[in-house]
């Protein structure tokens, strides 16, 4: 209502004085800008900033079964960074990132390069098949792998049985790490492949033509032209996968009930936060863990972006 009145009033006067008119136009553009941002802004504030602020607020308190709630400032954070459960969980996701992310990206890159080079009837079909695991919800994917790994139902027992050997138990304490690496790679490599493939498709074919005229082979084209040109896409999926892996939750949470005792409630920091908040009713400490994890993710991603920014390209 108010906006409209200002608008009609300003209209006749604006015709007389040019400087004033310019100011009004600028104001109008200002208001228009905010109105365009408005719908997003409201959702952003209500669904992201407000819950974050509330969680931060919660994390500064401590609630005890006996004695009630008290303000403790950063005590929960001090506790988190000295809590063996949180530290070992964080160390696990960091190790997991170091192994699983390079693996996923190498697989995705190799498949994208192959699909980009080979043109046959099967290209489209293969692309779909490689992408398919991503279309399966993570929960269902994890349950499925749980059964594949199972000693009673899984095919591994039969396969190894043919040679009279015992199959590796990917749900046991020693091998659960690799069992999870496999599940995550299976699920995400196809998705990253599509991103890289799309980036490859965006390269001007004239460049290949020119390279070939200069005597470059297929390998040289791939390594010297294609990969450097899709470096921004590689950077993007690296950041995606880093954030996703540090917040690891779904797969271990689902496999917990299938992997006898090898996955505890504090297996990853996110699972630990979930257990604290929803099983032990300790929302304060759960929030503190979430924020501490957020801090680790931020530091990790920032450090990574800083390192890659200097060289401009990925390789």
């Amino acid at each position: 209502m108010t906006l409209l009145t200002t608008d009609t009033k300003s209209a006749p006067r604006a015709r007389d004085k040019t400087p004033d008119r310019r100011g009004k136009v600028r104001l109008r553009e200002h208001v228009m800008g905010w109105l365009f941002v408005g719908p997003f802004g409201i959702v952003f504030l209500a669904l992201l900033i407000a819950p974050l602020a509330y969680a931060l607020y919660l994390s500064l308190f401590q609630k005890k079964l006996i004695g009630g709630t008290s303000f403790v400032l950063f005590d929960n954070y001090v506790k988190a960074f000295t809590d063996p459960s949180f530290l070992s969980g964080s160390w696990f996701v960091i190790r997991f990132s170091l192994v699983s992310i390079p693996l996923q990206i190498i697989v995705a890159l190799a498949m994208a390069l192959i699909l980009d080079t080979v043109t046959s009837l099967f290209t489209r079909f293969s692309r779909l098949m490689i992408f398919l695991p991503y279309a399966i919800p993570t929960v269902i994917g994890a349950v499925m792998w749980g059964f594949l790994y199972s000693k009673s139902f899984g095919p591994l027992t039969d396969l190894f049985g043919l040679f009279g050997a015992t199959p590796p138990d990917f749900l046991s304490g020693n091998l659960i790490f690799y069992g999870l690496v496999n599940v995550v790679t299976w699920q995400w490599a196809g998705y990253y492949m599509i991103i890289l493939y799309a980036a490859l498709q965006g390269i001007d074919p004239a460049l290949y033509e020119a390279a070939r005229m200069d005597g470059a082979g297929r390998w040289q084209i791939a390594l010297r032209i294609k990969i450097p040109l899709i470096a921004p896409a590689l950077l993007l999926i690296l950041v995606f996968s880093l954030i996703g892996t540090l917040q690891f939750f779904n797969e271990p949470q689902i496999l917990r009930s299938l992997a006898a005792g090898t996955i505890g409630p504090d297996f990853t920091p996110n699972m630990y936060a979930y257990q604290q908040a929803f099983a032990l009713a300790n929302f304060n400490y759960g929030s503190a863990i979430s924020f501490a994890l957020g801090g680790i993710v931020f530091v990790g991603v920032y450090a990574f972006l800083f390192l890659t920014r200097k060289r401009r390209t990925f390789l």
Binding site: R28, A260, Q275
Partner: protein, 456 residues
């Protein structure tokens, strides 16, 4: 002109969004009261037959809950139950816990396992229902059942089913290896060794995820993990590393180490399939276990008569001790709008003959209501799952009547999680049972102190 129209459109849109946001907030609550006819009774799983009566909301997960609720609603002229199944065990507790923390969203009446009552009571989430008609039903349940739902003089639930423990075993496998059901834990170990030497399957299972079972087995040997005076709730006695507790953990740890028993988590497809395929010769569990197995298709068709049940092995056969695993009650929550009406539901639900009979004939519950417990039909029932064995008369009823009740901790979830961690460590061989008990004591005592308790 064009600009102006856009501006108007944007302003109208903004106003509309705000209005919509307001109406959805207010409308949700209004719709809820309008459709249910009672407080918050908008989305019941059951249909309420007498719509003019006040309603009480309830969460529960018994497999025959629908029938039980319908029976109650049909027979009651004062109040109607609006039932929702929000999940079994910890799924429900997590939701209840969240509702307690939020201060809103809990039902009026809730089904909880008896070992969780102190956990919720200490958060003042449950109502003492003694003044709401306890005397009228007091005689319907034994003293052990009442002890499990009481804290001091206050009563925080109405018992429904219990979990007297016994040893379920594979009759066919026992016969094949010529083994008699062991009467003591020493005999149990000898039988397990004999079966292994003869190339038989594993004798039982030592699982990390069934802390309540491990605790019951420790109590059988004389442990009393928690002691506290309800009048002085801030002081608690924690004794998780006494000799009895250590002995029981060492006993099972050694069986696992020697490969006599498996170490599979229970209630998993892996474990159930193991039980079905005869991978385990015995299954130490409670009276509700057969119902759980029949649900998975065990004991029917080709399997008929393969299972039998014997009393739980003892440490000292001269002084047998019976223990309990699980069993649930109906409690009234402190968020109930009308606690008196809610208590009527808690007392009356699953207490009518029709519901109880359905429960025990289908082996969904081992009833604690004496009307069913003393019913000759119940006592003499030839249980199909056990090949016609009179399991109630021979095993479960004596076990239930000898059960004396126990004291549970007010931080059950934490204690059970910590126990799971330690049992996992015993299984992977990094600690002995005795060391695990010491670590558990340290862990749980530290948690209790952190939560503001004085630990004795």
């Amino acid at each position: 002109m064009n600009n102006k129209r856009l501006l108007t459109a944007a302003a109208v849109l903004a106003a509309a969004t705000t209005l919509a946001a307001c109406s959805s907030g207010g409308g949700g609550g209004g719709g809820g009261t309008a459709s249910g006819g009672g407080g918050g009774a908008s989305n019941c799983t059951n249909t309420i037959p007498k719509k003019n009566l006040p309603t009480v909301t309830m969460w529960g997960w018994y497999p025959n809950m629908q029938l039980v609720v319908d029976n109650f609603n049909k027979q009651n002229a004062e109040v109607q139950v609006c039932w929702t199944n929000v999940g079994q065990g910890s799924d429900e507790y997590d939701k209840f816990q969240t509702a307690i923390s939020a201060g809103t969203g809990a039902p009026d009446v809730i089904m909880i396992e008896m070992d969780r009552i102190p956990t919720f009571q200490i958060q003042k989430a449950l109502v003492d229902i003694k003044k709401f008609g306890f005397d009228a039903v007091k005689a319907d349940y034994g003293p052990g059942a009442w002890k499990d739902v009481s804290i001091g003089d206050a009563v925080y639930g109405v018992p429904v089913d219990g979990g007297p423990m016994a040893m379920i075993y594979r009759k066919d496998i026992f016969d094949k290896y010529d083994i008699k059901p062991p009467k003591t834990w020493a005999e149990y170990e000898q039988a397990a060794q004999k079966m292994k030497d003869a190339g038989g399957p594993q004798f039982g299972d030592f699982a990390a995820n069934v802390s309540a079972l491990t605790m019951a087995l420790q109590i059988q040997k004389g442990a009393s993990p928690f002691t506290y005076d309800p009048a002085q709730q801030s002081t608690i006695g924690i004794k998780l590393n006494d000799q009895a507790s250590k002995d029981v953990l060492d006993y099972w740890g050694n069986l696992a180490k020697k490969g006599l028993v498996g170490t599979q988590d229970q209630f998993t497809p892996e474990y159930i399939s193991g039980v079905i395929n005869g991978k385990y010769a015995t299954y130490i569990s409670a009276a509700w276990a057969p119902g759980y197995l029949t649900g998975a298709g065990v004991g029917k068709g080709e399997d008929t008569g393969k299972f039998a049940v014997a009393p739980l092995p003892q440490w000292d056969p001269a002084n047998p001790v019976q223990v309990n695993w699980g069993g649930s009650a109906f409690s009234v929550t402190s968020q109930a709008k009308n606690p008196e009406l809610a208590a009527k539901v808690a007392y009356g639900l699953y207490a009518d003959k029709e519901s109880l009979t359905d429960g025990w004939t289908n082996q969904i519950i081992f009833p604690l209501n004496l009307k069913a417990l003393n019913d000759p039909e119940f006592i003499n029932l030839k249980v199909a799952f056990f090949g016609g064995q009179q399991a109630n008369k021979e095993v479960y009823v004596p076990a239930a009547s000898a059960y004396k009740g126990m004291t549970y901790s007010p931080f059950g979830q934490y204690y059970f999680d910590a126990m799971t961690k330690q049992v996992s460590a015993i299984i992977d061989g990094s600690v002995t049972g005795a060391q695990a008990a010491d670590k558990l004591q340290e862990d749980v005592a530290a948690y209790a102190k952190e939560q503001g308790f004085t630990v004795q």
